[in-house]
């Protein structure tokens, strides 16, 4: 009984530490619902810390391709995210009309983008630190970096 308790405590502590590490940056959440025939419904919850880790497994030629494609936008994105981190709770853009609502804001250090339209709903919630990590990794893959 004693041995089992120790084993469970050890295993529990390990899982907790791993869980705390994995979820330390929160959750990347993507919800997409298209209200049409054949429309896609995507609901994705991923530990934000897992995204930069998963990018290490992307074949380098694909990363180089992405880096080359996004070459012009990367410095802007990098500067944008770096500055956004200074405004963890702010509303930046809101567009409302009779049937649509688009909103871009930061909440608790996460970038939140919401699109509510009659034919689709898109909700993205992504920690800014995750975007920064991903941006850095893509920049590092740039030719000559």
């Amino acid at each position: 009984m004693m041995l089992l308790a120790k084993a469970v405590l050890g295993l529990g502590s390990t899982i907790v530490l791993a869980g705390a590490y994995t979820f330390r940056e929160g959750v990347l959440r993507i919800d997409v619902d298209e209200y049409r025939s054949g429309g896609s419904h995507v609901h994705l919850w991923v530990p934000a810390a897992a995204v930069p880790m998963a990018m290490h497994f992307v074949p380098s030629q694909h990363m180089r391709h992405v880096s080359a494609q996004a070459r012009e936008a990367m410095p802007i994105l990098h500067a944008f995210v770096k500055e956004l981190k200074k405004y963890p709770d702010a509303d930046f853009v809101e567009i409302i009309d009779s049937d649509q609502h688009v909103r871009m804001r930061t909440r608790d250090g996460k970038l939140q983008i919401d699109v509510d339209a009659p034919d689709q709903k898109v909700h993205v919630l992504c920690p800014l630190s995750t975007i920064e990590d991903v941006t850095r990794q893509i920049e590092e893959q740039a030719p000559g970096a």
Binding site: M1, M2, G12, I15, V16, G26, Y87, R107
Partner: protein
């Protein structure tokens, strides 16, 4: 250690392990629900200067656009954009002449002139007024045509105009202008009103428009 103590320790260890195992789930639930619950969190550091743009359309769709941009953010991002005429936060203009008007000389003349009215036009179609007042350049246009009146009011601090033209020849320094703007107090820069739309651009220290 007695059997009683062993049992107590084992139960404590199992409960601790269970609590530890469940704690990340609680944190996860909090992180997932927090954005929805904190939708009205709107405070920001008072030193931040925010540029606000609001467009309200009174047509059938009733569109409202609200844009709030921290000036510091714009100052940092603009130099990162190098596209066509925009480089390092400066816009290239072919030369400082627009329709044979030397803009730089015109700005210099306005800057050194005392407060006063430079242009006043009053007609049946429209009224136009361009003036310098309390170190602000003011442009006011009232269009009276077609019974659908529209009114435009632009009020720009002279320091911002100076900063805008502070770059080399044939360039407008947007970053310098934003920096100069951030030193200004709360002010309304642009106001446009017509029968369908209301547009406002203003500067303050709040990160929300309403």
């Amino acid at each position: 250690m007695s059997d009683r103590n062993n049992g107590f320790f084992a139960r404590t260890a199992l409960i601790s392990a269970a609590a530890l195992l469940l704690s990340p789930l609680g944190a996860l639930a909090q992180s997932a629900t927090a954005p929805a619950n904190s939708s009205q969190s709107t405070t920001s550091a008072s030193k931040d200067r925010w540029l606000h743009v609001r467009v309200i359309s009174s047509d059938a769709k009733g569109e409202t656009v609200r844009v709030n941009v921290p000036l510091e953010l714009a100052e940092k991002i603009l130099p990162a954009i190098n596209k066509e005429r925009l480089h390092n936060g400066k816009v290239k203009i072919d030369d400082a002449h627009v329709n044979d008007v030397d803009l730089r000389a015109l700005v210099e003349a306005i800057r050194t002139t005392k407060d006063g009215e430079f242009v006043t036009v009053q007609s049946n179609d429209c009224d136009v007024r361009v003036a310098k007042q309390s170190n602000h350049l003011i442009v006011h246009v009232l269009d009276k045509e077609n019974s659908k009146k529209s009114e435009v009011e632009i009020k720009v601090p002279m320091k911002v105009i100076d900063a805008l033209f502070s770059a080399g020849k044939d360039e407008l320094d947007l970053v310098a202008a934003l920096h100069a703007l951030s030193a200004q107090g709360d002010t309304e820069l642009v106001s446009v009103k017509d029968h369908e739309n209301t547009v406002r651009v203003w500067l303050d220290s709040k990160n929300v428009t309403d």
